[in-house]
């Protein structure tokens, strides 16, 4: 099957760079159609006020039929937000990135969803199984079978 990702990502890139980027989101890297990096911050009052996170998107050739792999970047500069659905290795437990992915979603809508996930957080804490998960986690969160205990995200 022909790779359909480039044409779709071209459109998305155009939208993101032409001022249709969601507020608080900035494109940091989009040199190819495999990996993009965006910065993300939660605007308004929230537990994460003033913090800037970075998201790494990895796309397969069959994107958007196949969901993208999305993780928070954890390195010298960025840390994963402390959130019940975000593991300290940056993996995110969010249904839209797993079984509720839909090809009508895209980079911008994923960012907005994650922004609202953070914005609505009441308590800064890691997932209860964080240590165990991080020890055994596969490199790609797409290979993890998350138990989505909160249907709101």
């Amino acid at each position: 099957m022909a790779a359909i990702a480039p044409r779709r990502l071209t459109k998305e890139l155009k939208e993101l760079t032409m001022g249709e980027c969601p507020a608080g989101v900035q494109l940091l890297q989009s040199a190819d159609f495999e990996t993009w990096v965006l910065s993300l911050e939660v605007l308004g009052e929230s537990l994460y006020k003033g913090e800037v996170f970075a998201l790494r998107f990895r796309f397969e050739p069959q994107y958007p039929i196949a969901s993208p792999e999305v993780t928070f970047i954890v390195d010298d500069k960025f840390k994963a937000p402390i959130h019940p659905h975000v593991y300290s290795n940056g993996h995110i437990c969010a249904s839209i990135l797993g079984h509720e992915w839909s090809p009508v979603l895209g980079v911008a809508s994923v960012c907005i969803t994650l922004q609202s996930m953070l914005a609505s957080c009441k308590k800064r804490e890691r997932p209860p199984d964080n240590d165990r998960y991080v020890r055994t986690a596969p490199a790609s969160p797409k290979k993890s079978r998350f138990h989505y205990d909160d249907d709101t995200v």
Binding site: M1, K11, E12, A66, S102, V104
Partner: protein, 101 residues
């Protein structure tokens, strides 16, 4: 004065009838796009070269419309659970009713 039209060579663009009424006033040049590939309906899906009948649209009973090829690609994946990408309702093809007004 009597004006008689003897002949008229007129040019038109075709649009898919997506059920949404559009008039010259509302037509702002922005095209309806397929939610999956985000290309205009009147263009063809990323896998096709020729638009129109060779790359038709598909309607769901949920009223959502996609390039047929795009939707079939999605529906054929287990992840889709045979749901409409828009509303996650089970996808059922809708018969198109001809709008004759």
């Amino acid at each position: 004065m009597k004006v008689t039209v003897k002949a008229w060579h007129a040019i038109a663009e075709w649009r898919w009838d997506t059920g949404q009424q559009s008039t010259p006033d509302t037509d702002d040049g922005e095209d309806d796009v397929c939610g999956i590939c985000r290309l205009p309906f009147e263009a063809c899906c990323p896998a096709c070269k020729v638009p129109g009948d060779d790359c038709p649209l598909i309607w769901g009973e949920c009223t959502h419309v996609f390039h047929m090829h795009c939707l079939l690609k999605w529906i054929s994946t287990p992840a889709s659970k045979a749901q409409c990408p828009m509303d996650r309702r089970p996808w059922v093809n809708a018969e198109r009713k001809v709008n004759l007004n």
